[in-house]
């Protein structure tokens, strides 16, 4: 399953290292003039399950917290059938995140 992940550059490029199959894409929308300071990035990861993403993201956010970056991280995830926006902080559990990612796969 291909999953597009957008978020702050540091977070997303850091996550990219954890996926076995991933591509960095230019997700810049040049029709949008935004004033801001944080840079965004986009990757497309190919995964077997949402649990794989939930585990990787929570572990990465916790490891960043251990290095001093404790602010909540917003990620946008998109698959063929759905889009979700999640806010992840060091307290977020794998189970909570996996549940939030539910709309990315068919509800059977």
């Amino acid at each position: 399953m291909r999953v597009q992940i957008d978020g702050e550059r540091d977070l997303v490029t850091g996550l990219a290292d954890g996926f076995a199959e991933v591509e960095l894409v230019d997700g810049t929308d040049l029709t949008e003039q935004k004033f801001g300071f944080a840079e965004a990035a986009t990757i497309i990861a190919t995964v077997q399950s949402l649990a794989e993403i939930a585990k990787l993201v929570t572990e990465f956010v916790r490891s960043r917290a251990a290095r001093g970056t404790t602010k909540p991280q917003t990620l946008r995830l998109r698959t063929a059938i759905g889009t979700v926006v999640v806010e992840v902080d060091p307290e977020t559990t794998v189970e909570q995140l996996q549940e939030a990612l539910g709309p990315l796969t068919p509800q059977r």
Partner: protein, 508 residues
């Protein structure tokens, strides 16, 4: 205040022909409000986050002005309207097509070969546990979508649903392909010199001047230091423009700070404004702001004395002569002709959509909104062009620009968006509010839009703008790679499914 630097404090996207300001907390909102109304306690020097909150209004307003006057930007805007009108028509026919899946964005789907389409259909079938049958859309190459066809207004009610869909989808995809090409730009050997980043540089110069006068030298220094050290593309574009400005600056100034920072910064706006005046209709790819900028750099580098291509910013005639010399040195259509052509093209757009409306079938709500917006754009362009002609120096000197009296320049409608917090309903006495419901059933205001002309006509036009924005977001999602707000992603797929009767599947 949150104090955390954000990716977006405000934005200008012609989907909403006005400017948007974004607040992540009530503290941020009140901080900005106190500053703008002068009602807060005097505060110590703000950090970068606070500086941004207090100056984002100046930044975004310049985007609106540059959008109005830049012929190149207006070409992109006209493409956006063409995309919208045809995409709305195309989506209206999808329900009658064979197939059970609408793959989006359609512009990407169209460029995939049969093999790739079959692979994706197989992936989707595995994901959904059922066979999928995408609607039929003939394959097209990207180059094919970029060929020019004459604009026509024709009746399509004699066509089958499939024929009408293909006809309208083709026009929409051509518009979106051209938007992609124009915003990517031509001749920018460096990615950070693409047209949107030159727009950002223009807005930064005005913002910095506003910070200087409105907040203080310390805050000015904080923002400038960030921008000259940052590796973000828009900041690198500013750094490159400053280098060119230093070559052109003839005034030696009174101090090193003045010579190396203030004078070049002041000169940058004259460079970006001239670059943004490029006209794609008249000069083709050479009308791209990126191309104009790089050709100007070449002309200055090749000049035996760069002073020959400079001018005095405090003298409007001198600025005009300087731009005339740049036109000659680069061999491009004169900036005066580019501007005149731009105003005429917008006026022709009003005429064209008026004729199209006469042949419109069904609801005219969307095309009426297009006409309403285009008429206001025409009016605002004329006001901006008149101010520019009256005092060119004030227009291109950011330290004078921020003192141009209110009412002399067109002001955009504005929208405030609240994220992560809400305002109590009834707080705002005017404006169009967006209300949302909490899980406990109580409601809160998550955004508000204000018409700059606060009368019945101004509010009716604001409603039309909001309608156009909503329709454009749906069409962008269905046809293009353009990003849409999170809430659109969360709702528009269901809305498109209701409209078309198909399952919406996103190409990832």
């Amino acid at each position: 205040m949150t104090g955390i630097l954000r990716a977006d404090y405000g934005g200008f996207n012609p989907r909403f022909v006005g400017v948007s300001y974004l607040f992540d907390s009530s503290d941020d909102y009140l901080f900005a409000q106190d500053y703008l109304t002068g009602s807060g306690e005097p505060s110590p020097a703000a950090d970068l986050h606070g500086i941004a909150l207090r100056s984002v209004f100046d930044h975004e307003s310049r985007h609106y002005l540059d959008f109005l006057l830049s012929p190149y930007s207006m070409t992109v805007f006209r493409m956006r309207l063409q995309g919208l009108i045809n995409a709305v028509e195309a989506l209206g026919t999808v329900r009658g097509l064979d197939g059970d899946v609408l793959p989006v964005p359609l512009t990407r789907w169209a460029t995939l070969d049969d093999g790739r389409r079959k692979t994706l259909a197989a992936d989707w079938a595995e994901l959904l546990g059922d066979r999928v049958r995408p609607v039929h859309l003939p394959g097209r190459s990207h180059d094919d979508l970029l060929t020019d066809l004459p604009a026509v207004v024709e009746r399509t009610d004699h066509l089958t649903a499939q024929q009408a869909f293909e006809r309208n989808a083709d026009s929409a995809m051509r518009a979106y392909a051209r938007i992609g090409q124009l915003t990517e730009g031509f001749g920018a050997s460096l990615p950070y010199l693409r047209p949107p980043y030159l727009h950002e540089v223009s807005a930064y110069t005005v913002q910095l001047a506003a910070v200087w006068f409105g907040q203080g030298m310390a805050e000015f220094g904080t923002l400038l230091e960030f921008l000259v050290d940052s590796e973000a593309p828009q900041a690198r574009a500013l750094q490159t423009c400053l280098k060119l400005a230093r070559l052109l600056e003839q005034d030696e100034g009174g101090s090193r700070f003045e010579t190396e920072v203030i004078l070049p910064l002041r000169r940058v706006t004259s460079i970006t404004t001239w670059a943004l005046f490029g006209n794609y209709q008249l000069d083709g790819a050479r009308g791209c702001p990126s191309k104009r900028f790089t050709e100007l750099v070449t002309a200055v580098m090749d000049a035996s004395d760069p002073a020959d291509l400079s001018g005095r910013l405090e003298d409007s005639e001198s600025v005009a002569r300087m731009w005339d010399r740049w036109d000659r040195a680069t061999g491009l259509t004169s900036w005066r002709e580019c501007l005149a052509h731009n105003l005429a093209a917008t006026a022709r757009g009003v005429d064209g959509y008026t004729r199209a409306r006469d042949q419109w079938r069904g609801s005219t709500e969307i095309i009426d909104a297009v006409l309403g917006v285009l008429r206001q754009v025409t009016e605002h362009q004329r006001l901006a062009a008149s101010t520019l002609a009256g005092d060119l120096s004030a227009f291109v000197d950011p330290f004078r620009y921020v003192h141009i009296p209110a009412g002399t320049l067109p002001h955009p409608d504005i929208r405030l968006e609240f994220r992560g917090f809400g305002v109590t309903p009834g707080t705002f006495r005017s404006g169009r509010t967006v209300e949302r419901r909490r899980p406990d059933g109580t409601t809160y205001v998550s955004g508000i839009a204000h018409a700059i002309r606060d009368d019945a006509a101004g509010r009716a036009l604001l409603d039309q703008k909001l309608l156009l924005e909503s329709a454009t977001e749906w069409c962008d999602l269905a046809f293009s790679e353009l990003s849409v707000p999170d809430h659109v992603h969360l709702t528009a797929r269901a809305g498109l499914a209701d409209l078309t009767g198909k399952t919406i599947l996103q190409l990832v």
